[in-house]
Protein backbone atom coordinates (compact mmCIF):
# COMPACT_ATOMS: atom_id res chain seq x y z
CA UNK A 1 0.00 0.00 0.00
CA UNK A 2 2.77 2.40 0.96
CA UNK A 3 4.58 1.49 -2.27
CA UNK A 4 1.46 2.14 -4.25
CA UNK A 5 0.94 5.54 -2.69
CA UNK A 6 4.56 6.43 -3.37
CA UNK A 7 4.06 5.30 -6.96
CA UNK A 8 0.98 7.49 -7.39
CA UNK A 9 2.75 10.44 -5.84
CA UNK A 10 5.74 10.11 -8.14
CA UNK A 11 3.68 9.95 -11.30
CA UNK A 12 1.50 12.73 -9.88
CA UNK A 13 4.56 14.93 -9.45
CA UNK A 14 5.53 14.59 -13.10
CA UNK A 15 2.03 15.39 -14.40
CA UNK A 16 1.94 18.17 -11.81
CA UNK A 17 5.13 19.63 -13.24
CA UNK A 18 3.42 19.84 -16.64
CA UNK A 19 0.43 21.61 -15.08
CA UNK A 20 2.81 24.04 -13.39
CA UNK A 21 4.45 24.98 -16.69
CA UNK A 22 1.10 25.56 -18.35
CA UNK A 23 -0.19 27.43 -15.31
CA UNK A 24 2.81 29.77 -15.31
CA UNK A 25 2.06 30.48 -18.97
CA UNK A 26 -1.48 31.52 -17.99
CA UNK A 27 -0.16 33.66 -15.16
CA UNK A 28 2.43 35.49 -17.27
CA UNK A 29 -0.18 36.59 -19.80
CA UNK A 30 -2.71 37.40 -17.08
CA UNK A 31 -0.25 39.54 -15.17
CA UNK A 32 0.81 41.59 -18.16
CA UNK A 33 -2.61 41.97 -19.82
CA UNK A 34 -5.37 40.94 -17.43
CA UNK A 35 -6.45 38.35 -20.00
CA UNK A 36 -7.05 34.68 -19.28
CA UNK A 37 -5.80 33.17 -22.49
CA UNK A 38 -8.13 30.25 -23.19
CA UNK A 39 -5.89 29.34 -26.15
CA UNK A 40 -3.03 28.44 -23.78
CA UNK A 41 -3.83 24.73 -24.03
CA UNK A 42 -3.56 24.87 -27.82
CA UNK A 43 0.08 25.96 -27.53
CA UNK A 44 0.66 22.80 -25.49
CA UNK A 45 -1.03 20.73 -28.19
CA UNK A 46 1.00 22.44 -30.95
CA UNK A 47 4.25 21.66 -29.14
CA UNK A 48 3.55 17.94 -29.09
CA UNK A 49 1.90 17.69 -32.51
CA UNK A 50 4.50 19.76 -34.37
CA UNK A 51 7.30 17.68 -32.86
CA UNK A 52 5.52 14.57 -34.09
CA UNK A 53 5.07 16.08 -37.55
CA UNK A 54 8.73 17.05 -37.90
CA UNK A 55 9.79 13.63 -36.64
CA UNK A 56 7.47 11.45 -38.65
CA UNK A 57 6.98 13.34 -41.87
CA UNK A 58 10.27 15.17 -42.30
CA UNK A 59 12.58 12.69 -40.53
CA UNK A 60 14.24 15.35 -38.39
CA UNK A 61 16.31 14.22 -35.42
CA UNK A 62 14.44 14.56 -32.10
CA UNK A 63 16.25 17.66 -30.71
CA UNK A 64 15.84 19.54 -34.00
CA UNK A 65 12.17 18.61 -34.22
CA UNK A 66 11.60 19.81 -30.67
CA UNK A 67 13.44 23.07 -31.26
CA UNK A 68 11.49 23.78 -34.43
CA UNK A 69 8.21 22.96 -32.69
CA UNK A 70 8.96 25.44 -29.91
CA UNK A 71 9.94 28.15 -32.40
CA UNK A 72 6.86 27.61 -34.55
CA UNK A 73 4.51 27.56 -31.56
CA UNK A 74 6.05 30.78 -30.27
CA UNK A 75 5.43 32.30 -33.69
CA UNK A 76 1.78 31.22 -33.49
CA UNK A 77 1.53 32.85 -30.05
CA UNK A 78 3.00 36.10 -31.37
CA UNK A 79 0.76 36.15 -34.44
CA UNK A 80 -2.28 35.45 -32.25
CA UNK A 81 -1.43 38.41 -30.03
CA UNK A 82 -0.89 40.67 -33.03
CA UNK A 83 -4.07 39.71 -34.89
CA UNK A 84 -6.60 39.12 -32.13
CA UNK A 85 -5.46 40.72 -28.88
CA UNK A 86 -3.65 43.92 -29.81
CA UNK A 87 -6.42 45.44 -31.95
CA UNK A 88 -8.79 45.28 -28.96
CA UNK A 89 -7.36 47.55 -26.36
CA UNK A 90 -10.52 48.59 -24.58
CA UNK A 91 -12.48 45.37 -24.85
CA UNK A 92 -14.46 44.06 -21.89
CA UNK A 93 -13.23 40.89 -20.13
CA UNK A 94 -16.25 39.12 -21.63
CA UNK A 95 -15.26 39.80 -25.22
CA UNK A 96 -11.65 38.90 -24.46
CA UNK A 97 -12.79 35.56 -23.06
CA UNK A 98 -14.85 34.98 -26.19
CA UNK A 99 -12.01 35.99 -28.51
CA UNK A 100 -9.47 33.69 -26.91
CA UNK A 101 -12.01 30.85 -26.97
CA UNK A 102 -12.57 31.57 -30.66
CA UNK A 103 -8.83 31.60 -31.21
CA UNK A 104 -8.40 28.26 -29.48
CA UNK A 105 -11.18 26.69 -31.56
CA UNK A 106 -9.54 28.04 -34.68
CA UNK A 107 -6.08 26.73 -33.82
CA UNK A 108 -7.51 23.34 -32.82
CA UNK A 109 -9.59 23.14 -35.99
CA UNK A 110 -6.64 23.95 -38.24
CA UNK A 111 -4.52 21.38 -36.38
CA UNK A 112 -7.25 18.78 -36.86
CA UNK A 113 -7.40 19.42 -40.61
CA UNK A 114 -3.65 19.51 -41.06
CA UNK A 115 -2.60 16.64 -38.79
CA UNK A 116 -5.74 14.49 -38.70
CA UNK A 117 -7.64 13.13 -35.72
CA UNK A 118 -5.26 10.30 -34.82
CA UNK A 119 -3.37 10.02 -31.56
CA UNK A 120 0.39 9.96 -31.93
CA UNK A 121 3.33 9.18 -29.70
CA UNK A 122 6.78 10.67 -29.87
CA UNK A 123 9.75 8.63 -28.61
CA UNK A 124 11.05 9.06 -25.07
CA UNK A 125 14.11 11.32 -24.76
CA UNK A 126 16.28 8.51 -23.43
CA UNK A 127 15.71 4.82 -22.67
CA UNK A 128 12.38 3.33 -21.71
CA UNK A 129 13.90 1.14 -18.99
CA UNK A 130 12.07 1.82 -15.72
CA UNK A 131 14.19 2.69 -12.71
CA UNK A 132 13.34 1.51 -9.21
CA UNK A 133 13.17 4.06 -6.43
CA UNK A 134 12.28 2.88 -2.90
CA UNK A 135 10.00 0.20 -4.29
CA UNK A 136 8.30 2.43 -6.86
CA UNK A 137 9.15 2.42 -10.55
CA UNK A 138 10.00 5.59 -12.39
CA UNK A 139 10.44 6.06 -16.13
CA UNK A 140 13.42 8.13 -17.25
CA UNK A 141 10.92 10.40 -19.00
CA UNK A 142 9.47 11.35 -15.60
CA UNK A 143 12.91 12.53 -14.56
CA UNK A 144 13.29 14.45 -17.83
CA UNK A 145 9.99 16.17 -17.14
CA UNK A 146 10.95 17.15 -13.60
CA UNK A 147 14.43 18.25 -14.67
CA UNK A 148 13.31 20.34 -17.63
CA UNK A 149 10.54 21.93 -15.57
CA UNK A 150 13.02 22.88 -12.85
CA UNK A 151 15.36 24.41 -15.45
CA UNK A 152 12.58 26.42 -17.04
CA UNK A 153 11.38 27.71 -13.69
CA UNK A 154 14.93 28.73 -12.79
CA UNK A 155 15.44 30.51 -16.13
CA UNK A 156 12.05 32.14 -15.72
CA UNK A 157 12.94 33.43 -12.28
CA UNK A 158 16.25 34.76 -13.55
CA UNK A 159 14.48 36.49 -16.42
CA UNK A 160 11.88 38.17 -14.24
CA UNK A 161 14.24 39.33 -11.50
CA UNK A 162 17.58 39.97 -13.20
CA UNK A 163 16.98 41.20 -16.73
CA UNK A 164 15.68 44.57 -17.83
CA UNK A 165 12.80 43.10 -19.87
CA UNK A 166 11.75 40.86 -17.02
CA UNK A 167 11.72 43.73 -14.58
CA UNK A 168 9.76 45.82 -17.06
CA UNK A 169 7.18 43.05 -17.35
CA UNK A 170 6.82 42.90 -13.58
CA UNK A 171 6.30 46.63 -13.55
CA UNK A 172 3.52 46.24 -16.14
CA UNK A 173 1.83 43.61 -14.03
CA UNK A 174 1.70 45.98 -11.06
CA UNK A 175 0.41 49.00 -12.93
CA UNK A 176 0.39 49.31 -16.68
CA UNK A 177 -0.11 53.06 -16.80
CA UNK A 178 2.64 53.79 -14.32
CA UNK A 179 4.92 51.45 -16.25
CA UNK A 180 4.27 53.28 -19.50
CA UNK A 181 4.88 56.62 -17.74
CA UNK A 182 8.41 55.57 -16.84
CA UNK A 183 9.08 54.68 -20.46
CA UNK A 184 8.27 50.97 -20.62
CA UNK A 185 6.77 49.85 -23.93
CA UNK A 186 3.69 48.12 -22.56
CA UNK A 187 2.63 46.76 -25.96
CA UNK A 188 6.02 45.17 -26.46
CA UNK A 189 5.81 43.59 -23.01
CA UNK A 190 2.44 42.08 -23.87
CA UNK A 191 3.93 40.63 -27.03
CA UNK A 192 6.87 39.20 -25.08
CA UNK A 193 4.52 37.68 -22.52
CA UNK A 194 2.62 35.88 -25.28
CA UNK A 195 5.91 34.68 -26.77
CA UNK A 196 7.18 33.36 -23.42
CA UNK A 197 3.99 31.61 -22.44
CA UNK A 198 3.47 30.00 -25.85
CA UNK A 199 7.08 28.78 -25.74
CA UNK A 200 6.57 27.37 -22.23
CA UNK A 201 3.29 25.77 -23.25
CA UNK A 202 4.91 24.07 -26.23
CA UNK A 203 7.75 22.72 -24.07
CA UNK A 204 5.17 21.30 -21.66
CA UNK A 205 3.40 19.66 -24.59
CA UNK A 206 6.64 18.17 -25.92
CA UNK A 207 7.97 16.71 -22.68
CA UNK A 208 4.68 15.06 -21.79
CA UNK A 209 3.98 13.65 -25.26
CA UNK A 210 6.18 10.53 -24.90
CA UNK A 211 4.16 9.52 -21.80
CA UNK A 212 0.61 10.59 -22.54
CA UNK A 213 0.54 10.64 -26.38
CA UNK A 214 -0.63 13.66 -28.30
CA UNK A 215 -3.51 14.51 -30.63
CA UNK A 216 -5.24 17.63 -31.91
CA UNK A 217 -7.54 17.85 -28.88
CA UNK A 218 -5.22 17.30 -25.90
CA UNK A 219 -5.02 21.05 -25.38
CA UNK A 220 -8.44 21.49 -23.82
CA UNK A 221 -7.89 19.35 -20.74
CA UNK A 222 -4.22 20.24 -20.24
CA UNK A 223 -5.01 23.93 -20.61
CA UNK A 224 -7.84 23.77 -18.09
CA UNK A 225 -5.72 21.92 -15.57
CA UNK A 226 -2.89 24.40 -16.04
CA UNK A 227 -5.44 27.06 -15.26
CA UNK A 228 -6.43 25.19 -12.07
CA UNK A 229 -2.77 25.23 -11.07
CA UNK A 230 -2.56 28.95 -11.66
CA UNK A 231 -5.73 29.58 -9.65
CA UNK A 232 -4.43 27.52 -6.72
CA UNK A 233 -1.24 29.54 -6.91
CA UNK A 234 -3.13 32.83 -6.91
CA UNK A 235 -2.11 33.68 -10.48
CA UNK A 236 1.52 34.13 -9.50
CA UNK A 237 4.05 33.45 -12.23
CA UNK A 238 6.39 31.95 -9.68
CA UNK A 239 6.53 29.41 -6.93
CA UNK A 240 2.82 29.57 -5.99
CA UNK A 241 1.72 28.18 -9.34
CA UNK A 242 4.46 25.55 -9.30
CA UNK A 243 3.19 24.37 -5.96
CA UNK A 244 -0.40 24.52 -7.21
CA UNK A 245 0.46 22.36 -10.22
CA UNK A 246 2.29 19.76 -8.15
CA UNK A 247 -0.53 19.65 -5.58
CA UNK A 248 -3.09 19.19 -8.34
CA UNK A 249 -1.03 16.50 -10.06
CA UNK A 250 -0.53 14.50 -6.85
CA UNK A 251 -4.16 14.81 -5.68
CA UNK A 252 -5.41 13.80 -9.11
CA UNK A 253 -3.08 10.83 -9.30
CA UNK A 254 -3.99 9.67 -5.77
CA UNK A 255 -7.69 10.13 -6.52
CA UNK A 256 -7.42 8.19 -9.77
CA UNK A 257 -5.49 5.38 -8.07
CA UNK A 258 -7.40 5.09 -4.83
CA UNK A 259 -10.93 6.20 -5.74
CA UNK A 260 -11.73 5.83 -9.43
CA UNK A 261 -9.80 6.47 -12.61
CA UNK A 262 -12.96 7.42 -14.50
CA UNK A 263 -13.41 10.44 -12.26
CA UNK A 264 -9.76 11.53 -12.56
CA UNK A 265 -10.58 14.68 -14.53
CA UNK A 266 -13.56 15.46 -12.33
CA UNK A 267 -11.28 15.54 -9.27
CA UNK A 268 -9.25 18.39 -10.77
CA UNK A 269 -12.37 20.42 -11.45
CA UNK A 270 -13.88 19.78 -8.04
CA UNK A 271 -10.64 21.11 -6.56
CA UNK A 272 -10.89 24.11 -8.91
CA UNK A 273 -14.47 24.85 -7.84
CA UNK A 274 -13.67 24.46 -4.14
CA UNK A 275 -10.74 26.84 -4.40
CA UNK A 276 -12.74 29.36 -6.41
CA UNK A 277 -15.55 29.22 -3.85
CA UNK A 278 -13.48 29.30 -0.70
CA UNK A 279 -10.30 31.16 -1.58
CA UNK A 280 -10.65 32.78 -5.02
CA UNK A 281 -7.41 34.69 -4.41
CA UNK A 282 -5.46 31.41 -4.34
CA UNK A 283 -4.05 29.45 -1.42
CA UNK A 284 -1.09 31.69 -0.73
CA UNK A 285 -2.27 35.19 -1.34
CA UNK A 286 -4.10 37.77 0.74
CA UNK A 287 -7.46 38.86 -0.60
CA UNK A 288 -7.42 42.11 -2.54
CA UNK A 289 -10.25 44.57 -2.44
CA UNK A 290 -11.73 45.46 -5.78
CA UNK A 291 -11.30 48.99 -6.99
CA UNK A 292 -14.38 50.56 -8.48
Amino acid sequence: MAHQILQYMLSGLSTGAIYSLIGIGFAIIYNSTGIINFAQGEFVMLGGMLTYVFLALFDFPLPAAMGLAVVLTTAVGVVFERLAIRPLRNATPLSLVIITIGGSILIRGIAMLQFGKDTHAIPAFSSNEPLTLAGATVLPQHLWILGITLCIIAVNRFFFFHTINGKAMRACSHNRRAASLVGIGVKRMVLISFAISSAMGSVAGIITAPLTMTSYDVGIMLGLKGFCAAIIGGMSSGIGTVFGGLLLGVLESLGAGLISSGYKDAIAFIILLLILFIRPQGLFRKAETERV
Binding site: Y30, I35, I36, A84, P87, L88, A91, P93, L94, S95, V97, I98, I99, I101, G102, G103, S104, I105, L106, I107, R108, G109, I110, M112, L113, I220, L224, F227, I231, S260, G262, Y263, D265, A266, F269, I270, L272, L273, L276, F277, P280, V292
Partner: protein, 326 residues
Protein backbone atom coordinates in the same frame (compact mmCIF):
# COMPACT_ATOMS: atom_id res chain seq x y z
CA UNK B 1 -47.28 52.58 -26.50
CA UNK B 2 -46.00 52.80 -30.05
CA UNK B 3 -43.11 50.55 -29.09
CA UNK B 4 -45.55 48.00 -27.69
CA UNK B 5 -47.52 47.97 -30.94
CA UNK B 6 -44.38 47.64 -33.00
CA UNK B 7 -43.26 44.68 -30.89
CA UNK B 8 -46.69 43.12 -31.25
CA UNK B 9 -46.37 43.38 -35.04
CA UNK B 10 -42.85 41.90 -34.93
CA UNK B 11 -43.94 38.94 -32.81
CA UNK B 12 -47.06 38.47 -34.92
CA UNK B 13 -44.98 38.32 -38.09
CA UNK B 14 -42.44 36.04 -36.44
CA UNK B 15 -45.11 33.63 -35.22
CA UNK B 16 -46.72 33.70 -38.66
CA UNK B 17 -43.47 32.82 -40.40
CA UNK B 18 -42.70 30.08 -37.88
CA UNK B 19 -46.18 28.57 -38.11
CA UNK B 20 -46.27 28.60 -41.91
CA UNK B 21 -42.70 27.45 -42.52
CA UNK B 22 -43.40 23.69 -42.35
CA UNK B 23 -45.89 23.96 -45.21
CA UNK B 24 -42.96 24.52 -47.55
CA UNK B 25 -40.81 21.70 -46.27
CA UNK B 26 -43.48 19.22 -45.21
CA UNK B 27 -41.89 15.95 -44.13
CA UNK B 28 -38.52 16.80 -45.64
CA UNK B 29 -35.14 16.63 -44.02
CA UNK B 30 -35.10 20.40 -43.59
CA UNK B 31 -38.09 20.19 -41.27
CA UNK B 32 -36.01 18.01 -38.97
CA UNK B 33 -33.28 20.65 -39.02
CA UNK B 34 -35.85 23.35 -38.21
CA UNK B 35 -36.89 21.36 -35.13
CA UNK B 36 -33.30 21.68 -33.93
CA UNK B 37 -33.29 25.38 -34.76
CA UNK B 38 -36.24 25.63 -32.35
CA UNK B 39 -34.45 23.81 -29.52
CA UNK B 40 -31.25 25.78 -30.05
CA UNK B 41 -33.19 29.04 -30.13
CA UNK B 42 -34.75 28.20 -26.77
CA UNK B 43 -31.27 27.49 -25.37
CA UNK B 44 -29.87 30.69 -26.85
CA UNK B 45 -32.77 32.69 -25.37
CA UNK B 46 -31.94 31.16 -21.99
CA UNK B 47 -28.23 31.93 -22.21
CA UNK B 48 -28.92 35.40 -23.56
CA UNK B 49 -30.92 36.27 -20.44
CA UNK B 50 -27.85 35.52 -18.37
CA UNK B 51 -25.06 36.67 -20.68
CA UNK B 52 -26.67 39.37 -22.78
CA UNK B 53 -28.72 41.12 -20.12
CA UNK B 54 -27.11 40.39 -16.76
CA UNK B 55 -23.60 40.18 -18.27
CA UNK B 56 -22.71 36.91 -16.52
CA UNK B 57 -20.89 34.41 -18.70
CA UNK B 58 -21.60 30.69 -18.52
CA UNK B 59 -19.51 28.06 -20.26
CA UNK B 60 -21.49 25.28 -18.64
CA UNK B 61 -24.96 25.66 -20.06
CA UNK B 62 -24.71 22.38 -21.93
CA UNK B 63 -24.73 20.79 -18.47
CA UNK B 64 -28.21 22.15 -17.66
CA UNK B 65 -29.40 21.12 -21.11
CA UNK B 66 -27.95 17.66 -20.51
CA UNK B 67 -29.37 17.36 -16.98
CA UNK B 68 -32.82 18.18 -18.34
CA UNK B 69 -32.44 15.61 -21.10
CA UNK B 70 -31.09 12.89 -18.82
CA UNK B 71 -33.57 13.42 -15.98
CA UNK B 72 -36.38 13.29 -18.54
CA UNK B 73 -34.85 10.34 -20.36
CA UNK B 74 -34.02 8.19 -17.35
CA UNK B 75 -37.28 8.82 -15.50
CA UNK B 76 -39.41 7.98 -18.56
CA UNK B 77 -37.38 5.21 -20.21
CA UNK B 78 -36.31 3.42 -17.03
CA UNK B 79 -38.98 4.30 -14.49
CA UNK B 80 -41.98 4.83 -16.76
CA UNK B 81 -42.85 8.35 -15.65
CA UNK B 82 -45.17 10.35 -17.93
CA UNK B 83 -43.03 12.58 -20.25
CA UNK B 84 -44.81 15.80 -19.23
CA UNK B 85 -44.32 15.01 -15.54
CA UNK B 86 -40.70 14.13 -16.30
CA UNK B 87 -40.17 17.50 -17.99
CA UNK B 88 -41.59 19.25 -14.93
CA UNK B 89 -39.52 17.10 -12.59
CA UNK B 90 -36.37 17.87 -14.58
CA UNK B 91 -37.10 21.60 -14.62
CA UNK B 92 -37.64 21.69 -10.85
CA UNK B 93 -34.56 19.57 -10.12
CA UNK B 94 -32.32 21.61 -12.43
CA UNK B 95 -33.76 24.81 -10.96
CA UNK B 96 -32.81 23.66 -7.46
CA UNK B 97 -29.30 22.68 -8.56
CA UNK B 98 -28.79 26.02 -10.31
CA UNK B 99 -30.13 27.94 -7.33
CA UNK B 100 -27.82 26.07 -4.96
CA UNK B 101 -24.62 26.46 -7.01
CA UNK B 102 -25.64 29.94 -8.14
CA UNK B 103 -24.72 31.63 -4.86
CA UNK B 104 -21.07 30.55 -4.73
CA UNK B 105 -20.54 30.58 -8.52
CA UNK B 106 -21.99 34.02 -9.22
CA UNK B 107 -19.85 35.60 -6.54
CA UNK B 108 -17.09 35.18 -9.13
CA UNK B 109 -16.55 37.58 -12.00
CA UNK B 110 -15.19 37.58 -15.54
CA UNK B 111 -12.59 34.92 -16.24
CA UNK B 112 -13.10 33.21 -12.91
CA UNK B 113 -16.82 32.87 -13.55
CA UNK B 114 -16.10 31.48 -17.02
CA UNK B 115 -13.74 28.88 -15.59
CA UNK B 116 -16.02 27.90 -12.70
CA UNK B 117 -19.03 27.33 -14.97
CA UNK B 118 -16.79 25.46 -17.37
CA UNK B 119 -15.57 23.26 -14.52
CA UNK B 120 -19.15 22.57 -13.48
CA UNK B 121 -20.02 21.64 -17.07
CA UNK B 122 -17.12 19.22 -17.33
CA UNK B 123 -17.92 17.56 -14.00
CA UNK B 124 -21.53 16.97 -15.10
CA UNK B 125 -20.31 15.64 -18.45
CA UNK B 126 -17.98 13.18 -16.70
CA UNK B 127 -20.84 12.04 -14.46
CA UNK B 128 -23.01 11.36 -17.55
CA UNK B 129 -20.21 9.18 -18.91
CA UNK B 130 -19.35 7.35 -15.72
CA UNK B 131 -22.74 6.50 -14.20
CA UNK B 132 -23.23 3.74 -16.74
CA UNK B 133 -25.92 1.90 -14.75
CA UNK B 134 -28.15 4.94 -14.76
CA UNK B 135 -27.38 6.80 -17.99
CA UNK B 136 -25.99 4.07 -20.20
CA UNK B 137 -22.62 5.86 -20.22
CA UNK B 138 -20.89 6.81 -23.47
CA UNK B 139 -23.09 4.53 -25.58
CA UNK B 140 -26.15 6.55 -24.64
CA UNK B 141 -29.71 6.03 -23.50
CA UNK B 142 -32.36 4.86 -25.95
CA UNK B 143 -36.07 4.10 -25.91
CA UNK B 144 -37.20 7.46 -24.55
CA UNK B 145 -40.94 7.82 -25.25
CA UNK B 146 -42.45 10.75 -27.18
CA UNK B 147 -44.80 13.28 -25.63
CA UNK B 148 -48.46 12.22 -25.68
CA UNK B 149 -51.78 13.92 -24.95
CA UNK B 150 -54.47 11.28 -24.43
CA UNK B 151 -54.24 9.27 -27.70
CA UNK B 152 -52.36 11.95 -29.62
CA UNK B 153 -48.62 11.26 -29.79
CA UNK B 154 -45.97 13.79 -30.81
CA UNK B 155 -44.16 11.21 -32.90
CA UNK B 156 -43.41 13.04 -36.16
CA UNK B 157 -41.15 15.98 -36.98
CA UNK B 158 -44.20 18.03 -37.95
CA UNK B 159 -45.92 17.56 -34.57
CA UNK B 160 -42.74 18.14 -32.63
CA UNK B 161 -42.02 21.21 -34.71
CA UNK B 162 -45.20 22.90 -33.53
CA UNK B 163 -44.71 21.77 -29.95
CA UNK B 164 -41.12 23.02 -29.74
CA UNK B 165 -41.63 26.25 -31.64
CA UNK B 166 -44.75 26.97 -29.60
CA UNK B 167 -42.73 26.76 -26.38
CA UNK B 168 -39.81 28.67 -27.91
CA UNK B 169 -42.02 31.54 -29.07
CA UNK B 170 -43.60 31.76 -25.62
CA UNK B 171 -40.10 31.87 -24.12
CA UNK B 172 -39.08 34.68 -26.52
CA UNK B 173 -42.13 36.77 -25.63
CA UNK B 174 -41.72 36.12 -21.90
CA UNK B 175 -38.03 37.05 -22.00
CA UNK B 176 -38.88 40.24 -23.89
CA UNK B 177 -41.43 41.12 -21.24
CA UNK B 178 -39.01 40.33 -18.44
CA UNK B 179 -36.28 42.42 -19.98
CA UNK B 180 -38.51 45.46 -20.44
CA UNK B 181 -39.73 45.27 -16.85
CA UNK B 182 -38.30 46.60 -13.60
CA UNK B 183 -36.30 43.37 -13.25
CA UNK B 184 -34.90 43.76 -16.74
CA UNK B 185 -33.69 47.26 -15.98
CA UNK B 186 -32.13 46.01 -12.74
CA UNK B 187 -30.36 43.26 -14.73
CA UNK B 188 -28.93 45.73 -17.22
CA UNK B 189 -27.76 47.92 -14.35
CA UNK B 190 -25.84 44.90 -13.00
CA UNK B 191 -24.30 44.50 -16.43
CA UNK B 192 -23.06 48.10 -16.42
CA UNK B 193 -21.85 48.28 -12.83
CA UNK B 194 -22.62 46.02 -9.92
CA UNK B 195 -21.68 48.64 -7.37
CA UNK B 196 -23.89 51.27 -8.97
CA UNK B 197 -26.75 48.74 -9.12
CA UNK B 198 -26.33 47.98 -5.44
CA UNK B 199 -26.31 51.66 -4.60
CA UNK B 200 -29.62 52.02 -6.45
CA UNK B 201 -31.12 49.36 -4.19
CA UNK B 202 -30.88 46.33 -6.46
CA UNK B 203 -30.31 43.08 -4.58
CA UNK B 204 -27.48 42.12 -6.95
CA UNK B 205 -26.57 38.81 -5.38
CA UNK B 206 -30.09 37.40 -5.30
CA UNK B 207 -31.06 38.74 -8.72
CA UNK B 208 -28.03 37.21 -10.41
CA UNK B 209 -28.84 33.83 -8.86
CA UNK B 210 -32.50 34.16 -9.88
CA UNK B 211 -31.71 34.90 -13.51
CA UNK B 212 -29.13 32.08 -13.51
CA UNK B 213 -31.81 29.72 -12.20
CA UNK B 214 -34.37 30.88 -14.77
CA UNK B 215 -31.81 30.42 -17.51
CA UNK B 216 -30.99 26.92 -16.26
CA UNK B 217 -34.68 25.95 -16.05
CA UNK B 218 -35.29 27.07 -19.65
CA UNK B 219 -32.24 25.05 -20.73
CA UNK B 220 -33.57 22.04 -18.86
CA UNK B 221 -36.92 22.34 -20.67
CA UNK B 222 -35.01 22.47 -23.95
CA UNK B 223 -33.18 19.32 -22.81
CA UNK B 224 -36.45 17.49 -22.09
CA UNK B 225 -37.85 18.53 -25.47
CA UNK B 226 -34.67 17.28 -27.11
CA UNK B 227 -34.79 13.92 -25.30
CA UNK B 228 -38.44 13.23 -26.14
CA UNK B 229 -38.02 14.34 -29.75
CA UNK B 230 -34.83 12.38 -30.45
CA UNK B 231 -35.84 9.40 -28.23
CA UNK B 232 -32.08 8.77 -27.92
CA UNK B 233 -29.45 10.79 -26.04
CA UNK B 234 -25.72 10.38 -25.45
CA UNK B 235 -23.22 12.47 -23.48
CA UNK B 236 -21.44 13.89 -26.55
CA UNK B 237 -24.37 16.23 -27.19
CA UNK B 238 -23.82 17.91 -23.82
CA UNK B 239 -20.06 18.45 -23.69
CA UNK B 240 -17.87 21.53 -23.57
CA UNK B 241 -18.09 21.97 -27.35
CA UNK B 242 -21.82 22.43 -27.16
CA UNK B 243 -21.47 25.04 -24.42
CA UNK B 244 -19.14 26.93 -26.73
CA UNK B 245 -21.54 26.51 -29.64
CA UNK B 246 -24.32 28.04 -27.52
CA UNK B 247 -22.06 30.91 -26.58
CA UNK B 248 -21.28 31.42 -30.28
CA UNK B 249 -24.99 31.50 -31.12
CA UNK B 250 -25.69 34.19 -28.54
CA UNK B 251 -22.66 36.29 -29.46
CA UNK B 252 -23.28 36.04 -33.19
CA UNK B 253 -26.97 36.71 -32.82
CA UNK B 254 -26.35 39.76 -30.69
CA UNK B 255 -25.83 39.97 -26.95
CA UNK B 256 -28.80 41.49 -25.18
CA UNK B 257 -31.12 41.52 -28.15
CA UNK B 258 -34.49 39.79 -28.16
CA UNK B 259 -34.36 38.37 -31.68
CA UNK B 260 -30.59 37.84 -31.61
CA UNK B 261 -30.81 34.29 -30.21
CA UNK B 262 -33.17 33.34 -33.03
CA UNK B 263 -30.77 34.71 -35.68
CA UNK B 264 -27.71 33.15 -34.05
CA UNK B 265 -29.28 29.75 -33.46
CA UNK B 266 -30.79 29.76 -36.95
CA UNK B 267 -27.50 30.61 -38.61
CA UNK B 268 -25.35 28.18 -36.64
CA UNK B 269 -27.82 25.31 -37.01
CA UNK B 270 -28.53 25.82 -40.70
CA UNK B 271 -24.99 26.72 -41.73
CA UNK B 272 -23.50 23.23 -41.22
CA UNK B 273 -26.39 21.76 -43.22
CA UNK B 274 -25.63 24.02 -46.16
CA UNK B 275 -21.89 23.58 -45.72
CA UNK B 276 -22.11 19.79 -45.89
CA UNK B 277 -19.28 19.69 -48.41
CA UNK B 278 -17.01 21.38 -45.90
CA UNK B 279 -17.61 18.75 -43.19
CA UNK B 280 -14.81 19.21 -40.69
CA UNK B 281 -14.32 22.83 -41.60
CA UNK B 282 -17.38 23.87 -39.58
CA UNK B 283 -15.34 24.05 -36.36
CA UNK B 284 -12.96 26.49 -38.06
CA UNK B 285 -15.90 28.52 -39.29
CA UNK B 286 -17.17 28.73 -35.67
CA UNK B 287 -13.79 29.88 -34.41
CA UNK B 288 -13.43 32.51 -37.13
CA UNK B 289 -16.99 33.74 -36.66
CA UNK B 290 -16.45 34.10 -32.89
CA UNK B 291 -13.22 36.07 -33.28
CA UNK B 292 -14.33 38.25 -36.20
CA UNK B 293 -17.79 39.00 -34.84
CA UNK B 294 -16.44 39.99 -31.42
CA UNK B 295 -13.81 42.19 -33.05
CA UNK B 296 -15.81 43.87 -35.76
CA UNK B 297 -19.50 43.46 -34.91
CA UNK B 298 -19.74 43.30 -31.13
CA UNK B 299 -23.50 43.85 -31.28
CA UNK B 300 -23.99 40.71 -33.36
CA UNK B 301 -26.25 40.05 -36.32
CA UNK B 302 -29.21 41.77 -34.67
CA UNK B 303 -27.37 45.10 -34.41
CA UNK B 304 -25.81 44.63 -37.84
CA UNK B 305 -29.29 44.16 -39.23
CA UNK B 306 -30.61 47.29 -37.50
CA UNK B 307 -27.58 49.32 -38.60
CA UNK B 308 -28.04 48.11 -42.18
CA UNK B 309 -31.70 49.14 -42.15
CA UNK B 310 -30.75 52.55 -40.77
CA UNK B 311 -28.08 53.02 -43.42
CA UNK B 312 -30.43 52.07 -46.23
CA UNK B 313 -33.08 54.37 -44.83
CA UNK B 314 -30.67 57.28 -44.49
CA UNK B 315 -29.30 56.76 -48.00
CA UNK B 316 -32.84 56.56 -49.29
CA UNK B 317 -33.87 59.76 -47.56
CA UNK B 318 -30.72 61.51 -48.77
CA UNK B 319 -31.57 60.52 -52.30
CA UNK B 320 -35.09 61.78 -51.84
CA UNK B 321 -33.68 65.11 -50.67
CA UNK B 322 -31.27 65.18 -53.61
CA UNK B 323 -34.05 64.44 -56.05
CA UNK B 324 -36.18 67.13 -54.51
CA UNK B 325 -33.35 69.64 -54.81
CA UNK B 326 -32.43 68.52 -58.34
Amino acid sequence: MLKGNKNLVTYGMLSGIVMLAPLFFAGGYLLNVLVFVGINTLLAVALNLLLGFAGQISLGHAAFFGLGAYISGVSTATYGVNPWAAMLLAAVAVGLVAFAIGFPILKLKGHYLAMATLGFGIIVYIVFNETVDLTGGPSGLSGIPSFTVADFSFDSDMKNYYLIWGITLVAIVLSANLVNSRIGRALRSIHSSEVAARVMGVNVRLLKVQIFTLSAVLSSIAGSLYAHTMTFISPTSFGFNFSVELLTMVVIGGLGSILGPLLGAGLLTLLPEFLRTFQDYDIIVYGLLLVLMTMYLPGGLASGFTAMCARIRSRFSREVVKNAQG
